[in-house]
């Protein structure tokens, strides 16, 4: 059987998701719903119709071809009812302004690997490799495992960026083929974590503990630093203690940025963080200092 995977982007020359020069495979679908997410288009398993109003010629060609009447053209405006959209792509094909897009596409895993291999020598020169991200990489476990095995065969360094919100079996299955885990630690307070992101705290913390018990040196925790949610001394101190306790050395602090806020409108959604200012990295230096003084290796990305 030829394994396939649903991806929404493959980014080459990525230099923030693991060491060196990397290619990141952004896999479609995520069980969480973090309101600050910078890739909201990645959430739905099958993808979603994206509409770029600035490119729209307001010609109505999209509505004219939509078999489900999900796209309507009224009063010179395009209106999309995504609940009835079947993602058939007719409107995308007929949009002269290239204002409509379905980003998610199904690819053969082998084809993904072939793209990854095109930069193999850059990885080797820079100590880089490939990173599987999302969405949630673990949401397509079979494809992920298949691709990781192929990477191993090709001699590529592999990283998996994940929320760890998946059955432990999935994690333990990929562990032998994964050189680096970049695991989100969005909040140390399980209640808040669940309430805001929908994650299962027992599952997430349990997974990290279990993985760390055998492979702590492969783990780097990533802490998205979101104003109003987790930029608090207590959270950082608890997170650092959690790392120390589990033998995890490295943590990345990711200051909140606003690069993804424009996407919400393209998806017909409201961005709850539309008014939140990006966080300056200097505001995190205090916390990084605390972590470093505990013997941890903290980076602000």
């Amino acid at each position: 059987m030829t394994e396939t995977v649903k991806v929404f982007d493959i980014e080459r020359f990525a230099i923030k998701d693991g060491p060196g020069i990397r290619t990141v495979v952004f896999m479609q679908g995520c069980p969480l719903h973090c309101p600050w997410c910078s890739n909201p288009e990645s959430a739905a398993v099958d993808g979603v119709l994206r509409y770029y109003e600035a490119k729209c010629l307001h010609c109505g060609a999209c509505a004219a071809v939509c078999p489900e009447s999900a796209v309507k053209f009224e009063d010179g405006l395009v209106r999309i009812d995504r609940s009835v959209c079947t993602l058939c792509g007719a409107c995308v094909e007929n949009c002269p302004g290239a204002a409509l897009k379905i980003q998610a596409k199904r690819m053969k895993c082998r084809d993904v690997i072939d793209i990854l291999l095109r930069d193999k020598d850059y990885y080797e020169h820079s100590g880089g490799g490939v990173t599987f991200s999302g969405g949630e990489a673990l949401a397509q476990p079979d494809a992920l495992l298949a691709m990781l095995k192929m990477c191993r065969d090709e001699g590529l360094h592999t990283a998996v960026e994940t929320t760890a919100n998946a059955p432990y079996d999935v994690l333990s299955a990929i562990e032998p083929y994964t050189d680096l885990f970049l695991i989100d630690l969005k909040h140390t307070d399980g209640g808040k974590l669940h309430e805001v992101t929908g994650a299962n705290p027992e599952l997430v913390f349990g997974n990290i503990r279990s993985l760390a018990s055998t492979a702590a040196r492969k783990i780097r925790l990533r802490m998205p630093c979101i104003p109003g949610f987790n930029v608090e001394r207590e959270h950082f101190e608890k997170a650092f203690a959690f790392a120390v306790e589990n033998g995890i050395k490295g943590l990345d602090l990711l200051p909140y940025h606003t690069l993804g806020t424009g996407k919400y409108k393209q998806l017909g959604r409201e961005c709850l963080y539309a008014r939140t200012e990006p966080l300056d990295r200097s505001e995190l230096e205090l916390y990084a200092g605390i972590g470093n003084s505990m013997g941890l290796d903290i980076s602000i990305l």
Binding site: E11, R12, F13, I15, G20, I21, L57, C59, A61, N94, C95, P96, G97, A98, R118, D119, D121, Y122, E124, H125, S126, G128
Partner: protein
């Protein structure tokens, strides 16, 4: 009647020239004296006539030494005179008619008729006009730089880089001795005799400058007095013996380069390094004094304002004094970083042995926004040059880029690009039944072109285009060769010939059979737009069968108005620059077709080599303005892709993908191909090891070269609105650097369209 206008602008003059310092009447008198000498010696040999004309100019055309100069030699140019290239003066015995008219306008009415007399004389005698008169005969070939034509041609001797090691090793007395020995053996050879008189001109010029230095000592500060005294000493000693110090070697080299009219300088590290290292070792110079001298050299080169030239090359294989040369190289890298001048076009040749220190210094300068050094990869270039130019590996190690990027072998070859071809214009002509959609003129050059409906396959369509291209490639080789014939009929380029192998040995001027390797280059424009256009046709017409060729052509003629969906589909087709086998392999196929086509034709007409160079100054923008809409989705009048790079904005897959596309072309079929890349300072300077790995990998996989700009996102846009805030913002155009705010708006827009890696 001639098809051309003699007053056309002849070259890119992006940098503002420093005006002539002589009173206007004196300028007129010099031009009259020059014209008179040209007329009086018209029945003599061309060597005799040339040297007599040069005597009119030198030392008279030297400007006074400037207060900041640490060595001497600045020249003025008049609309009539002698030279090699259009950027300083003109070509051979030249008259730049447009500038002569401008000059005339400044004169009082009673003097104006004297200019008319000159104008009329030179209409028959200007070397370039003679070439144009013979070659510019129909709608297929135009003169530089008339963008209405798909092919433009000129006569010039650009890119000469001379055998300065021979000059400094022998000194003026040694050069005289060599010439005298040859005269003894061939007493009637005017080349030798005129060559000897060139040495006199050099000495007279040194003497005149020495007097100027001595005169300026009066009232000068103690420090300046010391500098002027040292300058005067050097000017004295270079007449009498071979240089012994760094300053003497520098002075002799510089004076000779000025008199030769060359504007590219060659491997100065290997030339001057030994003198510099010895002076530093003996304590004759401190490192800070050496820095000041090199900075003074930078300023002198900048002040010549040659825009796309001024090449100084350091590093790389084949240097005779690598250790001493590195001393010069490291100081020069520092000067380059600190100065951030648009010239010299400072060039670093690298190979696997290039040290980390050198890499870091180069990246420091690039990260500071200097746009220099441009990087050339010897591991690829040396074998490529050996194949392309048909020379052995040792000879190939002396390749040097000049101008925008094209190569010569220093002191051994000519390589002037006297032809430019616009491949995309030819495609639009081909698709429009041989008629240029821009002006409605037939430019099929006699090719038989089928109606679009009759092409049954992509190969059939592509072959038809190649057949038209073949005719133009024939024309290009013929015109290049003819440019040498016309120049050779008129001039000997004496100063150039004396320092070019094997002119002295053979007793012949370089274009008269003296030069060891008679080479040339052919500039290619719009190649990526063309291959992307072909890719769009292959995909949309012959694979998906979504449109007919006629539909695509109708949309092109309408400049895509009313064809939004079709244009979107054209734009969505695979584009070169994204590491895609489809678009990249077609680009490579087209490249190999025109590059080997040019090369084979050059060999056939009798040149050592005639190779394509995929570079551009700002002509990609100007020629694009005169090129109709194309199947890649490019609108009518829009800039063409820069050099060998993707069309601005077409490369959307990151720098590794773009570099992979760039590295695809086999360098052995070209004599230089400009590869531009643009980063934000944050990315470039904040990730030094990553950038180094990126570049090294690209070079390892066959990348031949890189030109790097670091600039902030938004800075260029802001500079267009508030130019006064950005007087020092330097950008790499393609093959030359410029102060961004001094560029014309259409060129600024082209630069802005290019992807910035952030």
């Amino acid at each position: 009647m001639a098809k051309f206008n003699v007053e056309t602008v002849q070259n890119v003059e992006q940098s503002k020239k420093i005006p002539c310092c002589k009173p206007i009447l004196e300028q007129l008198e010099i031009m009259e004296a020059y014209t008179d000498a040209h007329r009086r010696f018209s029945n003599s040999t061309r060597e005799r006539r040339e040297v007599e004309c040069l005597k009119v100019l030198y030392p008279r055309m030297f400007r006074p030494i400037e207060p900041q100069d640490l060595f001497a030699g600045r020249l003025d140019f008049l609309p009539i005179g002698f030279g090699c290239v259009t950027s300083v003066g003109g070509v051979g015995h030249y008259c730049v008619f447009r500038k002569l008219r401008q000059f005339q306008e400044q004169l009082p009415d009673e003097l104006k008729p004297r200019v008319d007399t000159l104008y009329d004389y030179w209409l028959d005698n200007d070397v370039k006009t003679q070439f144009n008169r013979d070659m510019i005969v129909d709608d297929t070939m135009g003169m530089f730089i008339d963008t209405a034509f798909p092919l433009i041609a000129t006569a010039r001797l650009s890119g000469m880089m001379l055998d300065y090691p021979k000059l400094v090793e022998n000194g003026v007395p040694g050069m005289r001795r060599i010439l005298e020995e040859h005269i003894a053996a061939s007493p009637d050879n005017d080349f030798y005799k005129a060559g000897l008189e060139c040495m006199d001109i050099l000495c007279h010029s040194a003497e005149a400058l020495r007097k100027d230095a001595l005169n300026q000592m009066e009232g000068a500060s103690t420090e300046r007095k010391r500098q002027l005294a040292s300058m005067a000493d050097s000017l004295e000693s270079i007449r009498k013996r071979a240089p012994e110090t760094f300053v003497e070697a520098l002075q002799l080299f510089w004076l000779y380069a000025l008199l030769a009219g060359v504007i590219n300088y060659g491997r100065l590290d290997d030339l001057l390094g030994p003198y510099l290292a010895a002076d530093l070792k003996s304590g004759r110079l401190t490192e800070s004094e050496a820095y000041d001298y090199i900075k003074s050299l930078w300023t002198m080169i900048e002040n010549r304002r040659t825009t796309v030239n001024g090449r100084v090359i350091v590093g790389g294989k084949g240097r005779k004094h690598p250790e001493e040369a590195d001393v010069f190289m490291h100081l020069a890298l520092k000067v380059c970083k600190d100065c951030r001048y648009v010239e010299p076009q400072f060039t670093l040749r690298i190979d696997r042995t290039t040290t980390d220190r050198t890499w870091n210094e180069a990246l420091d300068a690039l990260g500071a926004g200097a746009t220099y050094p441009t990087l050339y990869n010897d591991e690829v270039e040396v074998p490529a040059v050996a194949y392309g130019m048909r020379v052995d590996g040792k000879t190939a190690e002396w390749y040097v880029p000049f101008g925008c990027t094209e190569f010569v072998i220093q002191g051994q070859s000519t390589g002037t690009p006297n032809i430019c071809i616009n491949l995309l214009k030819l495609l639009t002509i081909y698709m429009n039944d041989g008629i240029d959609p821009i002006d409605g003129l037939k430019k099929d050059a006699g090719a038989v072109i089928k109606p679009l409906e009759e092409y049954g396959s992509f190969e059939d369509f592509y072959n038809g285009y190649k057949a038209l291209l073949d005719i133009y490639l024939d024309k290009s080789a013929q015109a290049q060769y003819y440019s040498y014939e016309v120049m050779n009929r008129n001039v000997s380029f004496l100063f150039n010939s004396l320092l070019t192998d094997d002119c002295i040995e053979r007793g012949k001027a370089l274009l008269d059979g003296g030069v060891r390797y008679l080479g040339g280059t052919c500039e290619i424009y719009g190649s990526i737009n063309t291959s992307d256009s072909l890719e769009a046709i292959r995909e949309l017409v012959f694979q998906k069968r979504k449109y007919s060729l006629r539909q695509i052509h109708d949309a092109m003629l309408a400049d895509f108005k009313g064809y939004d969906l079709l244009r979107r589909d054209c734009l969505a087709c695979d584009k070169y620059g994204n590491d895609l086998d489809t678009a990249d392999s077609l680009a490579n196929d087209l490249y190999e077709f025109y590059a080997t086509g040019v090369r084979d034709r050059g060999i056939k007409v009798g040149m050592q080599y005639f190779l394509v160079v995929i570079s551009n100054n700002q002509l990609n923008t100007e020629w694009g303005n005169a090129t109709a809409a194309s199947p890649d989705g490019r609108l009518s009048g829009m800039y063409l892709n820069p050099a060998n790079n993707p069309q601005g904005g077409a490369n959307v897959s990151g720098p590794t993908a773009m570099l992979n596309s760039l590295a695809r072309f086999d360098a052995k079929y070209h004599a230089g191909s400009v590869q531009n890349i643009k980063f934000s300072p944050a990315l470039f300077n904040g990730n030094r090891e990553i950038i180094k790995a990126l570049f090294k990998t690209y070079f390892d996989r066959g990348g031949c070269h890189l030109m790097v700009t670091t600039v902030n996102r938004g800075e260029l846009e802001d500079a267009m609105v508030h130019p006064e805030k950005y007087p020092d913002l330097i950008v790499r155009v393609s093959g030359f650097s410029a102060v961004f705010v001094e560029l014309p708006r259409n060129v600024q827009e082209e630069l802005l369209s290019r992807v910035l890696y952030d």
